[in-house]
């Protein structure tokens, strides 16, 4: 008797394959679907079309030519306003608590007779860096991420991608990039990770490289400080938070314009190629599951991002303290470097202190404002700055030669400058390439320098500054 060997089966399959029609894979999927349909028909009962009709009405509204865009902007404004105004109070409470703990630690070190430099390094450097990042970063994230996850869970976010896809297509990118940008408000590193939802490699790279043009939570404080001191001071105090949020929204929109421009440029140059297949599911609207929202947003997103930021904040705090406390001639090292950077800073409509603050803040953008205040006020550690807006205004304008141009350009620089260290690392991990991580830094920093240089030059030419 002849036995059939495994190889015979393989050989048979090999010879039969040639007879298959080209569409046999389609046929297989088709039969799978028709089987699934049969089962669904037996098992699923649909009682009414009410839900379907409701969904359709909502869809018509949120994607309508008249209301679609305004609804999107209003929701964005609400989320940012919630984040900005809610975080303000919480940030202060957390800061007070953490700084009080710091005082206790410092006193304890003084009592046991630790040398001043050890106390300073540990408590005014490392600890303060950590305390600052936590108090500035945690509250906005703890508000923004749940709000974002809420919209995500509701099913609204895919509609945003649907609304905006046309513009992304024009710039050679993918509509889902809008979702990764929305994530970027929370944290650019999280936004970079979120680009995994884009399945075409080329368009995913575009989304990764341009994500930084969306200002993250960590950069909000700079924008808010400038907005409240320079813009909102002209308005009644009651609406300050609206003005601050409005200014942030305006800056965000500038960032969106730059995102489109850069995406377009990239797909015309280094990432040349055709727009690839775009498919996007628009799921039915669902009642959000609050337990899950809290879990995903707090545990998966907030804590995750915060932990990474803390790892970089501690060494940054240490470096800041060292710079502020190592003497260099008559001044400290920080002041010396800032003076050296000053001509370059002025060229960009900024100043040396701002540039130095941004160099130090590469690990974590949250500490830009306290570092600037430290240097402007000649303190030996990061500080909060004057308590009233008028006093800050006085310190910056009368004390340190700021103009309106400085404020505007700092906003632009905060929006466009290089990604923070965490984001750069994340880009490396996601692309597995130092080349793309470097490109992300070069294009953002290049844009920031170019734009601030141009605005400064134009303003000076026209005699505005």
């Amino acid at each position: 008797m002849e036995t059939i060997q495994p190889n015979d089966v393989l050989a048979k399959a090999e010879s039969l394959r040639n007879n298959l029609s080209t569409g046999f894979r389609d046929e297989i999927v088709k039969s799978l679907y028709s089987e699934a349909e049969k089962i669904a028909k037996r098992a699923v009962k649909t009682s009414s079309d009410k839900k379907y009709d409701f969904d359709q009405k909502v869809d018509r509204l949120v994607t309508s030519p008249i209301f679609g865009l305004p609804i999107m902007l209003i929701l964005l404004g609400i989320v940012i306003w919630l984040t900005v105004s809610g975080a303000n109070v919480a940030s202060e409470a957390i800061a007070n608590l953490l700084f009080a703990l710091g005082d206790i630690g410092r006193n304890f070190f003084n009592q046991i007779g630790a040398p001043w430099w050890l106390t300073g390094f540990l408590w005014d450097g490392v600890y303060l860096g950590l305390a600052w990042v936590i108090s500035v970063m945690l509250p906005p994230m703890a508000i923004f991420f749940p709000a974002f996850t809420f919209l995500e869970d509701l099913g609204y976010l895919p509609r945003v991608a649907f609304n905006l896809d046309w513009m992304f297509k024009k710039s050679g990118a993918h509509g889902k990039q809008s979702l990764t940008m929305a994530m970027g408000f929370g944290c650019n590193a999280a936004g970079v990770v979120a680009t995994r939802i884009i399945d075409s490699p080329r368009e995913r790279l575009i989304a990764i490289l341009t994500n930084n043009f969306v200002p993250c939570n960590g950069r909000f404080p700079t924008l808010i400080m400038l907005a409240t001191v320079f813009v909102a001071s002209a308005f009644p105090a009651a609406i300050t938070s609206f003005i601050a949020a409005g200014t942030v929204v305006a800056v965000v929109l500038i960032g969106v314009v730059f995102t489109f421009l850069m995406s377009w440029l990239l797909s015309k140059t280094v990432l040349k190629g055709e727009a690839s297949a775009f498919t996007l599911e628009l799921p039915p609207y669902r009642k959000p599951n609050f337990g899950r929202i809290l879990y995903t947003s707090i545990i998966d997103r907030t804590i995750f991002v915060l932990w990474r930021a803390m790892q970089t904040a501690a060494p940054a705090g240490a470096i800041i303290w060292l710079l502020a406390n190592i003497p260099y001639g008559d001044v400290n090292l920080a002041r010396a470097i800032a003076d050296w950077l000053n001509p370059f800073g002025l060229l960009l409509g900024l100043d040396g202190v701002i540039l130095l603050a941004y160099i130090i803040a590469i690990p974590a953008n949250e500490i830009v404002v306290p570092t600037m205040m430290m240097m402007y006020m000649g303190a030996g550690m990061m500080i909060d700055g004057p308590s009233s807006n008028a006093a800050i205004f006085d310190l910056l304008v009368n004390g340190n030669g700021w103009t309106l141009l400085t404020a505007v350009n700092l906003m632009l620089f905060a929006l466009l400058h290089n990604p923070c260290a965490t984001t750069i690392m994340t880009i490396y991990k996601e692309t597995k390439s130092w080349k793309w991580a470097t490109v992300s830094v070069v294009i953002t920093l290049g844009t920031a320098f170019l734009v601030t240089f141009l605005t400064a030059s134009i303003a000076r030419l026209l005699g505005w500054a």
Binding site: R17, S21, T22, G23, R25, D26, V29, K30, Y33, S34, E37, Q56, D59, R60, T63, S64, P65, G68, L69, P158, A161, F162, N163, D165, W166, K169, G175, D199, S200, P201, R202, K272, G273, E274, A275, S276, A277, F278, T279, L280, E281, L282, P283, P284
Partner: protein, 334 residues
Amino acid sequence: MNTTFWVFTIIIGLVAIFIPRVGLLALYKNYRAGQAREQVEDALKHLLDREQQGRHASPESLGGTLDLPRAKTTRLIEDMETQGLVESRGNEIHLTAKGERWALHVVRAHRLWERYLADEARMPLKQIHDEAHKREHSLTEAQLNELDAALGHPTRDPHGDPIPTREGKLNRAEGMPITAWQPDRPARIVHLEDEPALAYQQILAAGLRLGQDIRIIEKTPNRYVLSDGENEYRLAPAVASNIHVAALPESEMLKREAVPLFELSHDQRGEIVTLDEAVQGFTRRRFLDLGLTPGTMIYPELKNFFGDPRAYRVRGTLIALRKDQAAQIWVKPI
């Protein structure tokens, strides 16, 4: 102390140069071997190409294609002869059986890479040739078989050229005698065998021609009845076996009565007929995963305020597609 330092440095330097496999010398040799191999493979491809066109390759044509000076070309040919890959006959260079096998391997690698780059990496068609050319030299036979299987054993590259099989067969006139074809399945005539001449004459006299789409409507031991939809053709089986046919690109047939999905007006229903033949690999799988299978009901439900993309209701879910994608899905309006 100074002597010790220098002795040490020299020893380390020598080790760095001469250590096997990772030393500088080994790396350089490796690099040169790779270069030489690429040159041989490009030469083999040229020879195979010439043979398929029915022309003979000469040292001149080879030197021209590879951009090599005369002396180097001669040395290359000599090298290949000692390896038993080619034979020179006068001014003609011929592939040996071994040389042809290797050449087919490289062609297979090139075309499979093209398929991969187009379908899975979704690289624009303009770029895939150069990229595939860079990669075609690096795969072993076994790796190539794996790539072939992973891609689902494609038969043609994205330009429509046949991909050699793992046995090293290049199906030029792919297709089979119509006598081996199953009745009722539409077929396209891809080749008319001109030997024996008598049969060939009969076929032409009956009015059958290359590229015609036909179908077997009757098959008995005595005769074949073929139809192209308008005329019927009666042939003896012996004559019919000279007609070689292949499957129509299926979508071709189906597309005739269909329109691309984006042409459906608002709330007009359609039934998916086929996905365009040009959509392969990743994108096709994605379409199928979303349930865009032939026979499915679909209609546009939502329009972006710029008109593109539109969202289509299919199997109860809403799926947004850009116009470019909707153009690749053919539907029958109902």
